[in-house]
């Protein structure tokens, strides 16, 4: 187990190096000149020159790459080009907001989709099953944007059940007042694809021989579903949750933009619109690293969920 983890961590190094190279050269070669972006059109030559020295742009490319690597590992990215806010501060203040919304979304989404997927898989082929499948196909074809626009209009503006948008400093108030509507809408939208996906996982398992054997020896349907099938379907479920996890940290930039939440997703979006490169680079590199770690943890978890899995 230990040697497996060690080997996987070592394998991450070339990938992470690739990410760093990709991001560095993407912005270096295809991005605009940072000095131009920072000072605007009315800059004097000396201003531009001083910014170039500050950012190390007058040094050779390899040295700039080295500065970039140092920034990544010391968490010292300097300040945002647009607001002069320290980038570490941006992470520290925006990430909690994103997590406040995204964690409830993830938990509700997974639990509800598993329950719905199981129910639909159990009555497979029936009218109810086909209706759910049809609804989810149609529901999937409508843009997420439409659900948010209409949901915000109907539930917040017309019915007034929730505030239209906003955010406060108190976690409790955020969770009880501002988060419910975005959480509800996001869960509602993801329910259809989620149900479809989990249904296919359960259907795969329900076709196995052990289910027939369990039925033959008289195990109740509930016990089959919850003790046998759910346990065996854990691996695809885990994989699916793991692919969603990095998204929890980025946040749904659409939700954050619509409900004006000061989260990380909206921050990255404004950074793109303001050409605030350091913010985008920092978020991208760290999230990529986080994704790799999550993938490793998932692979290790497979072993605990299913002892038959051999890690090699």
């Amino acid at each position: 187990m230990f040697s497996y983890i060690l080997r996987r961590v070592l394998q991450m190094i070339p990938t992470l190096a690739g990410v760093i190279l990709l991001i560095f050269f993407l912005f270096k070669w295809f991005g605009g000149d940072p000095a131009d972006i920072m000072v605007g059109l009315s800059a004097t030559k000396s201003q531009i020159a001083s910014i170039r020295t500050q950012l190390g742009l007058d040094r050779p490319v390899l040295e700039q790459l080295w500065i970039f690597v140092q920034q990544i590992f010391t968490f010292n990215w300097g300040k945002s080009w647009a607001t002069n806010e320290a980038i570490s501060d941006i992470f520290a203040t925006r990430l909690p907001v994103t997590l406040t919304v995204m964690i409830p979304i993830l938990i509700l989404e997974v639990v509800l989709s598993i329950v719905a997927g199981m129910a639909v898989a159990y009555v497979r082929g029936s009218l109810a099953d086909r209706t759910v499948m049809l609804i989810s196909t149609v529901a999937l074809s409508i843009s997420f944007l439409v659900y948010i626009v209409v949901g915000q209009y109907v539930f917040a503006f017309l019915l007034g059940w929730f505030p239209v948008q906003g955010w406060s400093d108190s976690l409790w108030k955020n969770l009880t007042t501002y988060a419910p509507l975005p959480v509800f809408l996001a869960v509602l939208v993801s329910l259809a694809p989620g149900t479809r996906l989990y249904r296919s996982f359960f259907l795969d398992e329900l076709g196995h021989d052990y289910v027939r054997t369990a039925r033959a020896k008289g195990v109740s349907e509930n016990a089959i579903l919850f003790k046998h099938v759910l346990r065996n379907a854990m691996i695809p479920i885990l994989t699916n949750v793991a692919t969603q996890l990095p998204g929890v940290f980025i946040g749904s930039f659409l939700i954050e933009a619509f409900f004006s939440m000061p989260g990380l997703g909206r921050e990255v979006l404004t950074a793109v619109n303001r050409s605030d490169y350091p913010v985008i680079q920092a978020v991208t590199v760290y999230l990529a690293a986080l994704t790799m770690v999550i993938n490793l943890v998932t692979d290790v978890l497979y072993k605990f969920v299913d002892p038959r899995v051999v890690l090699k």
Binding site: G18, V19, G32, Y153, S275, T291
Partner: protein, 352 residues
């Protein structure tokens, strides 16, 4: 002599002929194919300028409701300005401009002004400027579907070529491409899109791709090739040692010829299904990118920009643009997704 014998043998239908036969038996598949073809025809006609050419013309009053709703008569939507109270004061003797009114009136009379006929209702309603929503939604279909198709095409080409090289040659080249794949997939999809968007927005390439449509296409295809690469690579690994490829090698076919004229047709069904799956997801992505201001510019119209406008309109109770864009998009996307399912069933050799 021997040729005649060959002709007399019963011909076995080709892959595509038998796939078409299976697709024809699939009723859902045929209906979605018909709907898709209608949309494609609409796109082509709009592209040629035969349809919805005047989408920018302000043919109706602002927010003209759809025909089936009828004219809004209560007028509650417009604020009424109260008339001035008290007697009107004659200020012509102190008005410094008074002597010139006559002259201006004469000069104005030299120009013909025609009051534009503005209809009070439009087939699917009008937007804020009184533009016809029906024309807009057709023009929007043209832009959105073109973006989706082209981006999917480019992503498929990138993914197929890289997957072919990686799977066929393997070894060092394959390892290198696997590394590139790992790098691309370890960065969350949306962040990679944002990074490319940021670079295209302010970098030197911004001057090359001035039309925003190309920006979206590039963003989507640069980010979206990875899944196709993976599948195509797996297929090439499976096929490269098969007898027919060895036979091609024996008769002296080059690597490129073996890769693209021998193997590629045999895996084209995988590529085709991937292509159409990506069309659907890219059309949906275009909508979101346009809303975020990273996609189609505002002087063009796509389903995404229509939904963006609709957000502000809905609060004023003008729901028709939202409904039209959503309905058109949902119809096309559903039809295309069902068609893809039908295609997969028809082309998948395992189901035979």
């Amino acid at each position: 002599m021997s040729l005649d014998v060959l002709h007399d043998l019963p011909q076995s239908p080709g892959v595509w002929a038998s796939a078409w036969k299976r697709l024809r038996n699939n009723r859902v598949g045929m209906v979605s194919l018909a709907i898709t073809l209608v949309f494609i025809a609409m796109v082509v006609l709009a592209q040629l300028g035969l349809l919805a050419k005047d989408w920018q013309k302000e043919v109706g009053t602002a927010f003209a409701p759809p025909h089936f709703v009828g004219r809004i008569v209560d007028g509650s939507q417009t604020a009424v300005v109260e008339g001035a109270q008290g007697p009107a004061v004659d200020i012509s003797d102190i008005d410094p401009l008074a002597p010139r009114y006559q002259e201006w009136a004469e000069r104005a009379a030299q120009f013909k002004t025609a009051a534009a006929e503005k209809s009070e209702t439009l087939p699917l309603g009008g937007d804020q400027l009184g533009r016809d929503v029906l024309s807009k939604v057709i023009k929007g279909a043209q832009v959105s579907i073109t973006v989706g198709l082209l981006a999917a095409l480019f992503a498929t080409i990138i993914g197929t070529v890289l997957g072919a090289i990686g799977g066929y040659f393997g070894g060092k080249v394959g390892d290198f491409l696997e590394w590139v794949y790992n790098v691309f997939t370890s960065i969350p999809y949306i962040l990679l899109m944002f990074s490319v968007a940021a670079v295209l927005k302010s970098g030197p390439l911004a001057k090359v791709f001035t039309s925003g449509v190309w920006t979206v296409i590039i963003i989507l295809s640069v980010v979206g090739w990875t899944g196709i690469y993976r599948l195509v690579r797996a297929e090439y690994i499976k096929h490269r040692t098969r007898e027919y490829v060895r036979a091609a090698e024996a008769i002296g076919a080059s690597h490129a010829s073996r890769m693209f004229t021998h193997i590629l047709p045999n895996i084209s069904h995988v590529v085709l299904v991937q292509l159409s799956l990506h069309v659907v997801s890219f059309i949906k992505a275009e909508v979101i990118l346009s809303f975020l201001g990273l996609g189609v510019p505002l002087d063009m119209v796509s389903w995404g920009t229509m939904l963006t406008e609709a957000q502000a309109e809905l609060v004023q109770g003008k729901w028709w643009q939202l409904l039209a864009a959503t309905a058109f998009m949902a119809t096309f996307v559903t039809a295309f997704a069902l068609l893809t399912d039908a295609l997969r069933d028809a082309l998948d050799p395992k189901l035979r």
